[in-house]
Structures are given as C-alpha cells and as structure tokens.
C-alpha cells in the first residue's frame, strides 16, 4: 500500500490558523458564534479551532460535539462490523440566534454532514450553519459545500484519506493511500 503525506504537523497548524482567521473575518460578530465538532476527529479539530478563535477574538465561544450515529441514512444496511466506539453528543448551550460552525476532518460524500445538520436541529434552531473541513476530497453525493476548506485534495474514489491527530493518534499528519488489492475487493 503506497502512502503519500499531504499535510505535516506544521502545515496542519498553519491551515487551522488560516481557517480560524477566515471564520473571524466572515463573522464580524464573533460573540454570536459557536463551534461544533463531529466525532471523532472533527471534535478534536473543533477544540483546536476554538482555542485559536479565543486567541484571535478574545471571545470564549460555546463549543460542543456531535455523534451522528443515530442519524445515519444507512442504518441497518450491512457494512463490515467495526470496533464499537460509542460517543454521546454534548451541546449544552442554546443554539438559537447563533452561527454554528460545524467542523469535520474530511469532506467526502456529504452524508455525514447531512446527518450532522439533522442532529443539530434536534437541539434547537441555529441562525446559520457553516461548515469547516480540514480536507475536501471531492466525490460529493449530496448538494453540500464547505465554507472553510483547509486543503482541497483531488483523489480517486478508491483512495483513502487518513487524518491523524495528536490527541487521538499520537501525531498530526494527513496522508493519502491507495487500498491494497485485497482491501479494494473487500
């Protein structure tokens, strides 16, 4: 399996910083913002963005995270069983009248984001929802467009984008890999 590194630790830090600047620029009223990350790595990125925005604007924004497993559109469809990892969502602030920035690591088909938006609306009616992603790899299956993109990654559909983050994986890195022949068949 060949693996190509597309973002190193420093690139990732710079990229997030740029996204934070863009968020602050696009939302002059920073106090009305809230950051919500999608489990697992989106939630980690959300925490980093939250810290960067606090430095930048001086505002301590509300932050939350979402687990979308109850909102998936493929529930019951047979997929390979993976390790059960269970999260709960945490959104303990009022969403109404806020601009919520949803954060995820990779934007691919758009189905995760659709589920996240649906989940979000069960907590309240935000004024606006924006989407920030670290990587946009294309191949959308739904009409969903990010507001903030860390890096556009043109990929083939069969390739994988692997995001590693220090908090969960030990180090920061984004790589693209081609699945081995066996994996491609599975």
């Amino acid at each position: 399996m060949s693996e190509k590194v597309v973002l190193e630790h420093d690139d990732l830090r710079r990229t997030l910083k740029r996204i934070a600047h863009e968020i602050a620029e696009k939302n002059p009223d920073a106090a009305g913002l809230a950051i919500v990350g999608i489990h697992t790595r989106g939630a980690v990125l959300a925490r980093r963005l939250h810290a960067l925005l606090a430095e930048l604007t001086g505002a301590d924004l509300p932050i939350g995270d979402l687990d979308i497993s109850f909102y998936r559109d493929d529930v019951g469809a047979k997929a390979p069983a993976a390790q059960p990892v269970v999260h709960a969502s945490h959104i303990d602030f009022d969403l109404s009248e806020r601009t919520v920035v949803l954060v995820d690591d990779v934007l691919f088909t758009g189905r995760t984001v659709r589920a996240a938006i649906e989940a979000l609306f069960d907590y309240g009616r935000p004024r606006r929802v924006q989407l920030a992603v670290l990587c946009d790899r294309g191949h959308r299956e739904l009409p969903i467009r990010p507001d903030y993109v860390g890096k556009n990654l043109p990929t083939a559909r069969g390739e994988r984008v692997n995001v590693s983050l220090g908090e969960v994986d030990g180090s920061d890195q984004v790589t693209i890999s081609e699945p081995s022949h066996a994996e491609a068949l599975s």
């Binding site: 529930v75 047979k78 997929a79 269970v86 709960a88 990929t155 491609a184």
Partner: protein, 320 residues
C-alpha cells in the same frame, strides 16, 4: 446479535457494548427533542401475555423515541381471548413485516419459539420463570453508573428466587460482569442446586451486612400455587429488607412492582440508598439500546477506522 432471548447468550463484551450505547441514549433523553430518527419506517410489535407497567411502557417509549412505528398488543382484550394460539397470533402480526417483536409470556421458552416462527428480531421481555434479559441489563447499567464497575462487588439477591426470572437473569449478568453473588431466602423459595451456577446460598439475613448491594425480589403471589411460606407476614418478619436490617452504605434495588411492607418496608423504598427510581429511568435508555443493537447493529459507527471509499455506496460516519 439477531435476537435477545437470554442473558446467558451474551458475553461480557456484548453486555458492555449495549450499556455504552445506552449511555449515549441517556444524552438524547436530556434534550428538548428526545427523539432520534434511527428506526424511521420500521415497525416494532410488543406482545404482552402478562401484566406489566414498566417493561411494556419502557419498550413502547423506547421504540417511539427511535422513531419506529409501534403496534402494542396485550393478550387481554385481543383475539387471544377468543382462543387464538401464540403461533397464529405471531403469524398475524408478522404479516405487518415488523422489524422486532417484543414478547412477554407466562411460559418459559415462549420467546425462543416465537423466534423460530418469524423473520423479525425477537426480544424476550420475560418468559415464565426462565429469563428477563432486559431487566438484567438495566440493573447492570444502573449499578455500573453508580459504582463504575461491578468487578468484585458483593451482591445479595433476596427473596422469592424460585419463581423469579429476574433472579436468574440477574445472577448470570452480575456474575458475568465480575460480581460475587449470594442468593438468600427461605429454603422453600431457593431452587435446589442453584449453587452450581457459582453463587453462594444463605437461608437467613444474618450476614446481610457483607453485601454492598441488596437486590430484593417481589413475592410472586400469582405464581404460588402451593404454600411456600406460612404467610406473607411471617415472610416479612424474617426476610423483609427494612432500614434496620439495611446499613446506610448498602445500595438497595428492586425490579418492581414492590409489595410495600412485604419484601421491602416503605421506609427502605423511599430511603436515599434505594436505586429503584434510577432503575426505572435506566429501563428506557437500555431498551432503546437493545432495539438499536438488534435493528441497527451489526454495522457500527467506526470513527477510528482509517477511511473508506472502496465500496459502491459509502457508509457515512466513517471518515473519508
């Protein structure tokens, strides 16, 4: 896991997976909108041949909170009164193509039989004196929340063990989670040979102080055809759990419904060490987790998986 028929069939890992899932449903219950769309478009049938408040209402609410369509049938007032057999009733209800059938029946093994007659996932909500797995799961959930882990916890199950499916399921579940279980009651109400399941047996409350958790069982008057105890009053004199016999550090549980003044004193029920209300609350989220596990399980969110993209349709929730 296709059906939930008995705790016996579950490993410790499977029990923990269900309880972890229940934790995230507890979060759903704290929101303004206490409902998720997970089972939208699927049908859940509850079929109760015995009376029940907690189990039936919590399974029904669990199905609704998962957005399933619910058909709830009670034997009393249904065609069962007209003599329809269990098999015919199940065949009738199966015509609606339900995703799950939740059944309570007075005969042991009924749920197992239903599972052979239908395509639906079958949940045993109590079959005679055999098992009541969802009760055991919610009790483990309640204790795990309170104690963190059941490993090495000393639990006494006190009362009418002979007639109790709860005793049987809980004994197995508690032990599987690492607890040390003692069953206690008058000799006529303790099944012979129960120590072969690996528990201790006590015929008096003398050593009750050793327990960290006291799990009292209901005196099942409806299942008593012979005289197992001279009278309920005499039973209460020797085996009632009251605040005098209970020390303040012990936790008290009961599957409900309670015969106040028989197996438990009113004071003990309302004492701060009683977990009875928590058990009822746990029943809802654990039953949501059971339905989720059976109907949406198999496939699970895999946030730590390294990407995807090989399959034709992309499972969502997996990072790309």
């Amino acid at each position: 896991m296709k059906h939930l028929l008995a705790i016996e069939q579950l490993s410790r890992e499977e029990i923990e997976a269900i309880l972890d899932r229940a934790e995230s449903f507890a979060e759903v219950g704290r929101r303004d909108i206490k409902k998720v769309p997970t089972l939208r478009g699927r049908t859940v049938v509850t079929l109760f041949y015995e009376s029940s408040t907690r189990t039936s209402s919590s399974f029904e609410l669990a199905a609704k909170r998962l957005s399933a369509d619910l058909v709830s049938v009670k034997a009393a007032g249904s065609s069962v009164d007209k003599g329809e057999s269990l098999k015919d009733t199940v065949a009738t209800l199966s015509a609606y193509d339900p995703a799950a059938i939740v059944i309570r029946h007075p005969y042991a093994g009924a749920a197992q039989m239903v599972a052979e007659w239908t395509e639906a996932a079958v949940v045993n909500a109590g079959d005679g004196k055999h098992e009541h797995p969802s009760q055991a799961l919610l009790d483990v959930y309640t204790l795990r929340r309170r104690l963190g882990s059941l490993e090495g916890t000393r639990i006494w199950i006190v009362g009418d063990v002979l007639h109790s499916r709860v005793a049987r399921s809980n004994l197995i579940a508690f032990q599987r989670m690492g607890a040390e279980v003692t069953v206690c009651g008058p000799p006529t109400l303790i099944p012979r040979g129960i120590e072969e399941l690996g528990c201790e047996v006590s015929y008096s409350l003398e050593r009750l102080g050793e327990a960290e958790v006291v799990y009292a069982l209901r005196m099942q008057r409806e299942r008593m055809n012979e005289s197992f105890v001279p009278s309920l009053r005499e039973y209460a004199a020797s085996f009632q759990i009251d605040t005098r016999r209970l020390n303040p550090r012990q936790l008290l549980m009961h599957p409900g419904p309670v015969n106040r003044g028989v197996e438990l004193s009113g004071e003990a029920i309302d004492s701060p060490q009683s977990l009875i209300a928590e058990q009822v609350a746990a029943g809802l989220v654990v039953r949501m987790a059971i339905l989720y596990e059976l109907l949406a399980g198999g496939e699970r969110p895999a946030p730590l998986a390294k990407g995807d993209g090989t399959a034709e349709a992309t499972p969502i929730g997996q990072p790309a």
